[in-house]
């Protein structure tokens, strides 16, 4: 039948696994891989006749049930009704701090990114925040961010219901320990290795001597991903869904 899982399908499957147990996951704008991971979780739970997973994908009409304008996502999070959310980051440091504003001295930064969006709030309010950034380089994963859009941890006494739970990149999967605080490399994606990840990461992290590989999806999961999930993804991210299909076909013919 179809070819082996592509690297992006392994990422999507890893994200679905990290979301296991959530009732409601929200996905921000322009986040096709997190959206696919959340859709895969929903499909898997439905197949297993487990508790329904609700999805709010910003920018989608079909997968978004908010009717109270753009404030509703934040209100919903404040009420504790959103269990998981995704954040990217122009820079992410070893303490889980996220910078979405720019590089250099604020405010006239030498590189300017769009801005903090809802991160300065959602990082506190959503229990399980998954950091997702495909580019895994020392310019992204830095010792210390130039601007804290959202802090990884807070002082005792500061209201904080959530924060970073994991970090997923094109090279590996990390967990986050709020007590240290810091990241731990949990698994390495196929075709990458520990030395490469260390060289590409500007902060120190914990790891086993020989970390395991990130598991590929089984056949049932892969079939759901290539069928139902790709179809659902097409409504919000037609360009990305088409690209993913091309990668899958390319992978199949190469194999």
């Amino acid at each position: 039948m179809s070819g082996p899982a592509t690297s992006r399908e392994i990422l999507i499957t890893a994200i679905a696994r990290l979301l296991d147990g959530v009732r409601h996951v929200a996905v921000g704008a322009a986040s096709p891989i997190p959206a696919a991971g959340a859709m895969l979780l929903r499909a898997l739970k439905q197949e297993a006749k487990a508790e329904r997973v609700r999805l709010s994908i910003l920018g989608s009409v079909e997968h978004n049930f908010f009717t109270n304008g753009s404030a509703e996502l934040f209100d919903c999070a404040g009420q504790g009704r959103i269990d998981a959310f995704f954040l990217g980051g122009g820079q992410i440091d070893g303490r889980g701090n996220v910078n979405l504003v720019g590089v250099g001295d604020y405010p006239a930064t030498k590189v300017r990114w769009p801005g903090s969006f809802g991160s300065a709030y959602l990082y506190f309010a959503v229990p399980r925040v998954i950091l997702f950034r495909e580019e895994h380089t020392p310019r992204v994963f830095v010792e210390k961010v130039d601007f804290i859009s959202a802090p990884g941890v807070s002082e005792p006494g500061v209201w904080r219901e959530g924060g970073p739970a994991a970090l997923v990149t094109s090279k590996g999967l990390f967990s986050f320990d709020r007590s240290r605080p810091g990241f731990r490399l949990e698994s390495i994606h196929p075709a990458h290795d520990l030395r490469e990840i260390k060289a590409a990461t500007g902060f120190a992290f914990e790891h086993d001597e020989r970390p395991p590989f990130t598991p590929a999806p089984n056949e049932e999961t892969l079939a759901l991903l290539r069928g139902r999930v790709l179809d659902e993804l097409h409504e919000t991210y037609p360009g990305f869904a088409a690209e993913l299909r091309r990668e899958i076909d390319g992978c199949a013919s190469a194999a």
């Binding site: 704008a29 322009a30 920018g59 009409v61 908010f66 009717t67 109270n68 304008g69 753009s70 404030a71 509703e72 934040f74 404040g78 979405l100 504003v101 720019g102 604020y106 405010p107 006239a108 930064t109 030498k110 590189v111 300017r112 990114w113 769009p114 801005g115 903090s116 969006f117 809802g118 991160s119 300065a120 709030y121 959602l122 990082y123 506190f124 309010a125 601007f147 804290i148 859009s149 959202a150 802090p151 807070s154 002082e155 006494g157 500061v158 209201w159 360009g239």
Partner: protein, 269 residues
């Protein structure tokens, strides 16, 4: 149509605070050129809660002194070139916020109260750079529990685009409630619509719940495809190719000027 838009643009005076909606909510792109031709400058823009093409164009045209926003970008078409350049060269003052803080500021205004408290933010550089926000201890707790207060945002003018209005100036905004929040908070609200309907939007319960009553609306003008190149919910899709064309052209001030002098005018016709 053109004269109506020019008349509406005259409500904007130099130095005013202008509220503009997020790219998917209904941006009155049709008002952008009349605003630039009218030329009221030193504007303070409030993006509800983020900005895009319209904000970038007003900055590129030199009309903006300050932007309060949670982000400015062209979405799939990438960064907002004139905004980024103006921030890097300190030609505009940037007040970085976070989405729910902008909603909180408008909510305070809507309620007629001086501030609204908001969770999160403590320990961020967003808060550290906002001299106008305060942190207090929750007065309902015995000790501790710091919380941020965001002062009311009072825009002089809100400008947005919606599918339809009726003859009484009632505007149908559907589920885009941030448009109502902007209008409640602003002294003047200018709306462009795809069409004027002859029936009352308030007479039918199906449309009444999603209608912003004319009491909050100062002026309405028809502008067909008035959100273009943005899309309008339930009406038409975003023209991403055009956004990308702008993004490429506006990388330089000269490219921006060329883009603005030429094709936009043609396309608007």
């Amino acid at each position: 149509m053109g004269s109506d838009l020019r008349r509406m643009a005259e409500a904007v005076q130099p130095g005013m605070c202008i509220a503009l909606p997020v790219d998917y909510a209904g941006v009155s792109m049709a008002m952008t050129r009349p605003l630039i031709e009218h030329g009221a400058d030193r504007l303070h823009l409030v993006c509800v809660p983020t900005g895009g093409l319209q904000v970038d164009m007003l900055i590129g045209a030199g009309l903006v002194a300050r932007v309060e926003t949670s982000a400015v970008s062209l979405g799939e078409a990438g960064g907002a070139p004139r905004f980024n350049d103006a921030v890097k060269s300190a030609r505009i003052e940037i007040c970085d916020a976070t989405c729910p803080a902008i909603h909180a500021g408008l909510l305070a205004s809507q309620k007629g109260v001086p501030f609204v408290p908001i969770r999160g933010l403590i320990g961020t550089d967003v808060l550290a750079n906002r001299g106008d926000w305060r942190v207090i201890d929750n007065p309902f707790e015995a000790a501790g529990d710091p919380i941020v207060l965001v002062p009311a945002i009072h825009p002089d003018v809100a400008i947005f685009h919606a599918p339809m209005a009726d003859r009484d100036g009632n505007v149908w905004i559907g589920r885009r409630r941030e448009l109502a929040a902007m209008a409640y908070a602003s002294r003047t609200t200018l709306v462009t619509v795809e069409r004027i309907v002859e029936r009352s939007l308030l007479a039918d319960e199906t449309t009444a719940a999603g209608t912003l009553p004319g009491i909050y609306v100062s002026d309405v003008a028809v502008a067909e495809r008035g959100a273009w190149p943005y899309g309008l919910w339930g009406e038409y899709e975003t023209d991403t190719a055009e956004l990308k064309r702008y993004a490429a052209a506006a990388r330089s001030a000269e490219g921006f000027a060329d883009y603005m002098s030429g094709d936009l005018r043609e396309a608007a016709r």
